[in-house]
């Protein structure tokens, strides 16, 4: 009895098949169009809001198929997309900016499957449509900002310690402090070293009459700053993406200075880019009413306490250098229509400190003109002297000049915006916070919804047709053994799907290609075994001995062949990016799974069907 498996092996195979089938099952259920509601501020959609949601929907005659609440967010399933879109619209209006209302496709996995954590594979952007951005953070700007900050801090520090200095300036790679004499230099150096130990490195030099201290960021500190800038950009991006109303966005660090942003289902890429890439803030400054802006512009003589700005219509205006308030103190901003003028407006809330500063500043200046400056940073990469450099362009515009009627407090409005769309965008940017460093899009991949659907359909068709062709070929060529191999191949596909679902991997078009290729290559193991069995039979061995020898001798060849392919797949995974990685993952899983199905499972079936027949004369191979 050479072709017998011990009971445990049969059991193991049965268990693996059962688990595989159960965990690949969720992929068979369709998806419901759904609306997902979350509250980014508190993290939880409370009872009151949930009641409100139900009331709003029934008021509009919309009946969700199911209403689910997972402890943090609400999910409403609908029968069709029209209901879903309508519901999302009415809910957005009803809930305002406090909640994020996102469209989603929710898998209709039955409860008992969800209970054992069996979930369908998630579909990649190329299969469901959406946008993929790769953003690069301008790290040179991070160092620049730090230099800028230290310049200000040094001035304050030296002034407070009554050390007289000639100048404190930003230089290309740090900050330079110029002093009158050696004593004050030594005193300043001692002070600076005490306060900035570890963060900065100081060098002192003397050229002619001036005594110089140069400060540079230490390597560790610079690394920290960069890491923090990246982290802050990621969290700012998260806030902004929440504002866009995207279900299941992916925002992830890639490498040292890049961020991947994936927004499934987003179609309006222009708006997405506007929201993601823009950095904007506000500054409030008093208007310099003593001097004439036109004259200053034509003569080029600008008063030392003022700066020349431009209004939206292009006319010049002089504003005081001193900033009354920056956008940092803004806690909330919403857009709407100003009641007195009927023009688009942004309503702004300040935090306690900001309110204190602002009410003192406006209180001192009642009856005078105040300007709101809108500052937008755009980043682009340009070629200069044959080298690519990142250029940050700062656009400053005076969007509103108004006379201060009374002392302003925590809440006030600004007008002078061109459209309601602009008001909305400004409110969003103010709300979502500023980016720590400018970023630019270095890669974009957008897939429209129709192409996504086509891709799924075509991918699915090619897997099925290719698969059926191979099954027919195997059955014709190897007869009974071919059928056994076909069963193993089917199981191979089921198990790949199960493993991908268990890993919660994302299925992409290249992933499907990997699966198709695996189907072709997984039969190789069976071909090797069957050819070996045929050969043994030709050499005059008995069928039982031929089966035994066939499996045994083909094994080392199969192992060698699969390991080398696995090497190629792993290299692909390590060095490949996005799409290639998906291909490599399915290929690797396919190879490993095929070792189990093509060798163990087919052997078990062969053993079960032929193993007990002592007088086996012929094999259908």
């Amino acid at each position: 009895m050479i072709n017998q498996y011990p009971l445990w092996k049969y059991l193991l195979i049965v268990i693996v098949i059962a688990v595989g089938v159960v965990y690949s099952l969720p992929n068979l259920f369709p998806e419901d169009p759904a609306v997902q509601i979350s509250n980014p501020a508190t993290g939880v959609v409370d009872d009151i809001t949930r009641g409100q949601i139900n009331a709003v929907l029934s008021g509009q005659g919309l009946n969700p198929k199911a209403v689910e609440f997972d402890g943090t967010q609400s999910l409403l399933r609908f029968d069709n997309t029209e209901d879903q879109l309508q519901a999302a619209d009415v809910l957005r209006t009803a809930l305002g900016t406090s909640h994020v209302v996102a469209l989603n496709l929710a898998p209709a996995t039955p409860g008992w499957l969800r209970a054992i954590n069996a979930r369908p594979m998630s579909l990649g952007l190329d299969l469901r449509g959406g946008v993929h951005f790769l953003m690069e953070v301008d790290m040179a700007a991070v160092a620049g900002q730090a230099h800028e900050r230290y310049t200000g801090e040094f001035r304050t520090l030296l002034r407070d310690a009554r050390i007289r200095y000639l100048s404190v300036e930003r230089i290309s790679d740090g900050v330079a402090v110029r002093l009158r004499d050696a004593e004050s230099r030594d005193e300043a150096l001692r002070l600076l070293r005490r306060d900035y130990r570890g963060d900065l490195e100081f060098f002192s030099t003397q050229t002619g009459e001036s005594y110089l201290i140069e400060a540079r960021l230490s390597a560790d500190h610079l690394t920290d700053l960069r890491r923090m800038a990246l982290q802050q950009n990621i969290s700012t991006l998260r806030n902004r993406v929440d504002e866009l109303g995207v279900a299941e966005p992916l925002i992830q660090q890639q490498g040292e200075d890049r961020i991947v942003v994936q927004l499934p289902g987003v179609q309006d890429t222009a708006r997405a880019k506007e929201v993601i890439g823009a950095t904007a803030t506000l500054e409030f400054r008093m208007v310099d009413e003593q001097n004439d802006a036109l004259e200053a512009q034509s003569s080029g003589r600008i008063p030392p306490t003022s700066r020349l700005y431009r209004e939206r219509d292009g006319s010049p205006i002089l504003l005081q250098r001193r900033v009354m308030l920056t956008g940092d103190y803004i806690t909330d901003a919403s857009s709407g229509i100003a009641q007195d003028s009927g023009s688009p407006a942004v309503f702004i809330n300040l935090d306690a400190q900001g309110a204190r500063i602002f009410s003192r500043a406006t209180g001192e200046n009642v009856g005078r003109l105040m300007a709101v400056v809108f500052i937008e940073t755009k980043v682009e990469r340009v070629e200069e002297n044959g080298q690519l450099v990142i250029r940050t362009q700062r656009v400053e515009e005076v969007i509103n000049v108004a006379r201060i009627q009374e002392q302003l407090g925590r809440r006030f409005q600004i007008t002078g915006l061109e459209s309601t769309r602009e008001a909305r965008n400004l409110a969003l940017l103010l709300r979502a916070g500023a980016l720590a460093a400018p970023m630019m899009i270095v890669e974009e991949r957008t897939i429209g919804p129709s192409l996504g659907r086509d891709n799924i359909e075509r991918g699915f068709n090619s897997v099925v047709i290719g698969f059926v062709l191979v099954l027919i070929f195997m059955a014709l060529y190897y007869r009974v053994f071919g059928l056994i191999a076909s069963f193993a191949l089917t199981l191979n596909l089921v198990l790949i799907v199960a493993v991908l679902s268990l890993l919660q991997a994302t299925l992409t078009l290249p992933g499907i290609a990997g699966m198709v290729l695996t189907v072709g290559m997984a039969v190789d193991a069976n071909v090797l075994i069957f050819e070996r069995i045929r050969e043994e039979l030709r050499n005059g061995n008995s069928p039982q001995a031929a089966i035994q020898a066939g499996y045994e001798r083909a094994f080392s060849t199969i192992a060698d062949a699969n390991i080398t392919t696995l090497i190629a797949a792993i290299v692909l995974f390590i060095f490949g990016t996005g799409p290639i990685k998906g291909f490599a993952v399915t290929l690797s899983i396919g190879i490993v799974v095929s070792m189990f199905t093509a060798i163990m499972v087919t052997r078990a079936i062969v053993n079960l069907s032929y193993g007990r027949q002592k007088r086996l004369k012929k094999l259908a191979i």
């Binding site: 991918g459 047709i465 290609a513 190629a568 060095f575």
Partner: protein, 315 residues
């Protein structure tokens, strides 16, 4: 029905002819690669690609002027799959914000087809990223070949590993040559396909080498050349059957997978045909020319430890 059981083809006798054919193909491929180059997709060059779907068939003579009047003379406009789908490709330029280019182009095209023009796909790759992808792709290829070289040298012998890697390079160069000759788009997908070809073709070569090693142990009287021939004949049916099943699924992918996967499938189809040929005619012949014979195979006796019964069973 196909049957290879009596295959007695003298492959080694034809090895000179095979080598001449292969050398010619390689030289031709290198020449076309040198003179025509590869038609790199935007993955590697950087740039913007936009695919739009019109509600009815549209002539390129309508699309092109629309773009030209807006200053995009350098746009490459072509049909993609059907006459309703149009693909527009634009090389990066320094004086414009290329990340926003795609929105601008779509806006221009939409002017005449408001509401009905469908944006199917946008790909934008910054020049920096393109350069990195090119570098990473080349590196991936080298590392894969290197990893394989080491594995085979450990499992077999250095002559085999050099033979296998040369055969792989042969497959890759000829596939690249065909892509260059036909000026097919070479993108990330095709690169992945090439790496898969390496994996597949290697698979084939290993199976043949495995049999050569086994036969050197088993057949004591035959010359090295006879052993090679016998081994290739023994594995011939497997080589061809596996090739056929893989080609079946690839043809399904090529015809049904949609335009996006077409070049990927084509690269694999070419690679697998060339790879199958090379593992039959080239890999063994190269090992033989480098002086593989029984004496170099015997020291690796340890390998046989896992299957000691083999030699005893066979007279």
């Amino acid at each position: 029905m196909l049957n290879f059981k009596d295959a007695q083809i003298n492959f080694m006798k034809q090895r000179k002819l095979a080598l001449i054919i292969s050398l010619t193909l390689i030289i031709a491929s290198l020449l076309t690669l040198y003179f025509r180059g590869l038609n790199f997709g935007i993955d590697f060059t950087g740039g913007t690609l936009i695919e739009v779907h019109y509600p009815e068939p549209v002539g390129l003579e309508i699309v092109r002027p629309t773009l030209e009047t807006h200053g995009y003379e350098r746009a490459i406009v072509q049909h993609f799959g059907t006459s309703q789908d149009v693909l527009i490709r634009i090389a990066p330029r320094e004086d414009e914000d290329s990340a926003l280019l795609s929105n601008e182009i779509f806006r221009i095209l939409q002017a005449d087809f408001a509401g009905v023009l469908e944006l199917r796909r946008v790909e934008f790759v910054g020049p920096q990223v393109g350069e990195e992808l090119r570098e990473q792709g080349g590196l991936a290829m080298l590392y894969a070949l290197f990893g394989i070289l080491i594995y085979i040298a450990l499992r077999f012998e250095w002559r085999f590993s050099v033979g296998a890697v040369l055969a792989l390079m042969h497959d890759v160069i000829i596939t690249l040559g065909i892509f260059s000759l036909l000026q097919l788009d070479f993108d990330l997908g095709v690169l992945a396909a090439l790496l898969a070809v390496i994996g597949y073709s290697l698979n084939d070569t290993i199976v043949v080498y495995d049999r050569i090693r086994e036969n050197f142990r088993k057949l004591r009287k035959e010359s090295a050349m006879q052993v090679m021939n016998l081994s290739i004949n023994h594995t011939l049916s497997r080589t061809i059957i596996t090739g056929v099943t893989t080609l079946l699924v690839l043809l399904a992918l090529f015809f049904l997978g949609g335009s996006v996967l077409q070049n990927f499938a084509l690269a694999l189809i070419i690679g697998i045909v060339v790879g199958t040929y090379s593992s039959i005619y080239i890999a063994g012949a190269l090992a033989l020319m480098m002086g593989v014979d029984r004496s170099v195979m015997l020291p690796v006796k340890k390998e046989g430890a896992s299957q000691p019964s083999l030699d005893e069973q066979q007279p």
